[in-house]
């Protein structure tokens, strides 16, 4: 892609890309740490995640302001316009991902010491890993403006959904086996739901990337 006649325009767009990547990195680490805090009942780690959410919010604010100014100053057209609008959407998706991470971390405070058996946690950790992998891929696809990769991510969302369904059933079984597990399993259930929501946001990211590059949200119809 050739450069703009006005180089400052390019700099503005690059700044947005860098900030989105930074947000993405932050959100990813927040989710990873929050799940770890939950499974290890590490209150300190959970608190750090809650604190990080403020940073993420500030980043989103910064991106919003920057884009507002950019639209006012440069009146972007066509792909630039899509990129800017996409960046706004991505920032809000990433902020939501961060919020979900914060929610997970908050649950770590309530679990305290009564840790469930390891095998209960394994399914959740798998779900988390797959989601984080998706998020990471989405951020890569964004950086490379890679439509193919974005579609792969979108396709893989079903995998997360099925993992979530099986985890749901597993936790339900535990709860029925032993009513003492109910409290803890409910927390895990909400946590899994949050991670599934993260997966949905990642799908949104993929769709946004597709829109940025191709100009349509219709990611599924291109077969």
């Amino acid at each position: 892609m050739s450069e703009h006649t006005v180089t400052a325009f390019d700099e503005d767009l690059n700044f947005v890309v860098a900030k989105i990547s930074e947000m993405g990195g932050n959100a990813e680490s927040m989710v990873a740490r929050s799940v770890k805090a939950l499974v290890t009942a590490d209150i300190g780690l959970g608190q750090s995640v809650v604190a990080d959410d403020k940073i993420l919010d500030a980043l989103q604010q910064e991106i919003d302001d920057h884009i507002l100014l950019l639209i006012a100053k440069r009146q972007p057209m066509a792909m630039d316009l899509r990129e800017v609008v996409g960046a706004l959407r991505m920032a809000s998706d990433l902020e939501r991902i961060g919020d979900l991470g914060k929610n997970i971390a908050r649950r770590a405070f309530q679990i305290e010491d009564n840790l469930p058996p390891k095998k209960l946690l394994r399914g959740l950790q798998h779900l988390t890993n797959v989601s984080l992998e998706q998020l990471k891929d989405a951020l890569d696809a964004y950086a490379a403006k890679d439509v193919v990769k974005a579609r792969e991510i979108w396709d893989r969302d079903d995998e997360i959904d099925s993992l979530y369904t099986s985890l749901f059933r597993e936790l339900l079984t535990y709860m029925m086996e032993d009513p003492r597990n109910i409290t803890y399993c409910t927390h895990l259930l909400f946590c899994a739901k949050n991670i599934e929501r993260i997966g949905d946001h990642v799908t949104n990211l993929a769709e946004t990337i597709h829109f940025m590059v191709v100009g349509s949200y219709d990611i599924a119809s291109e077969d």
């Binding site: 703009h4 006649t5 972007p76 057209m77 066509a78 630039d80 899509r82 191709v214 349509s216």
Partner: protein, 270 residues
């Protein structure tokens, strides 16, 4: 991606076929002496819509516009070939009267150019020379109606007999538009009508263009991408004398299919 674009182009063309085609150019080539300015332009102009012609300076968009009412005839060395039709009639045909053609295809120019006469005379001149009015009261009616349509009447109704050159730039341009519509044209050509106006006057003229769309077919050349996006329904992109892309305006400005168009409208040109 290419397959996708062609498909989209076809969709756009199909959509346009639904609208009646008012003017059409087929294989239009224009040359000034040795220098060729337009290469095989094929462009349909749908009726009662605004078609914007965009492109960098010297791309031939104004040349094409001036072919549509044969304003290029005044330049000795200008040669036009190909086929330009108005309601399926070749306007370069021998038995076409240029004067009558220009009454049917009016023009508004880049710089507001009212005659150095009164506002009334400015608007009344066209109807008078074309014999459109029989009496003085008819003429008055035509003038008032044209000024009203141009959204100028309320502002200047007490000054009808003052010189048109005494108006502000925006008012002058609307006066020129009133002058153009006074001869009841079918098509109005506008050659960068707002390039000499301030934003407020520009906004007023754009509003006017939007209103005129109901009754007239409008072709507008503009350098302002935003203006093209705002006022037009179809946009044609010219580059180096060639028609690069033509599509619905909404598509052109969000997701153009041609790289040249993309570069031009996003400010990557040159």
């Amino acid at each position: 991606m290419d397959a996708m674009n062609t498909k989209r182009q076809e969709d756009a063309v199909n959509k346009m076929v639904q609208n009646e085609i008012k003017m059409s150019g087929k294989d239009v080539c224009v040359s000034y002496g040795e220098k060729q300015a337009l290469f095989d332009v094929n462009l349909d102009i749908p009726a009662k819509q605004v078609t914007a012609l965009i492109g960098p300076s010297g791309c031939g968009k104004s040349t094409f516009l001036r072919c549509l009412n044969r304003m290029n005839d005044t330049i000795d060395i200008c040669k036009v070939s190909g086929d330009i039709r108005l309601d399926d009639q070749d306007i370069y045909d021998h038995d076409i009267d240029v004067v009558e053609l220009r009454a049917r295809v009016g023009m508004v120019f880049q710089k507001p150019n009212p005659f150095p006469k009164s506002i009334f005379e400015n608007v009344g001149y066209g109807p008078k020379i074309h014999g459109l009015v029989r009496s003085k009261s008819d003429l008055e009616e035509v003038v008032v109606k044209s000024l009203q349509r141009a959204g100028l009447f309320e502002e200047i109704k007490d000054r009808l007999h003052e010189p048109g050159t005494g108006l502000s730039g925006g008012q002058q341009q609307r006066l020129c538009i009133a002058r153009a519509i006074a001869v009841s044209p079918e098509v109005i050509l506008m050659d960068e009508p707002c390039s000499a106006l301030d934003p407020i006057a520009t906004a007023k003229v754009e509003e006017l263009i939007d209103e005129l769309r109901e009754n007239y077919t409008i072709v507008i050349v503009t350098h302002s991408m935003q203006q093209a996006a705002r006022v037009s329904q179809q946009t044609a992109m010219f580059h180096l004398g060639k028609l690069v892309e033509v599509d619905e305006t909404d598509t052109i400005f969000t997701n153009p299919s041609n790289q040249k168009t993309q570069d031009y409208i996003t400010g990557r040109y040159g």
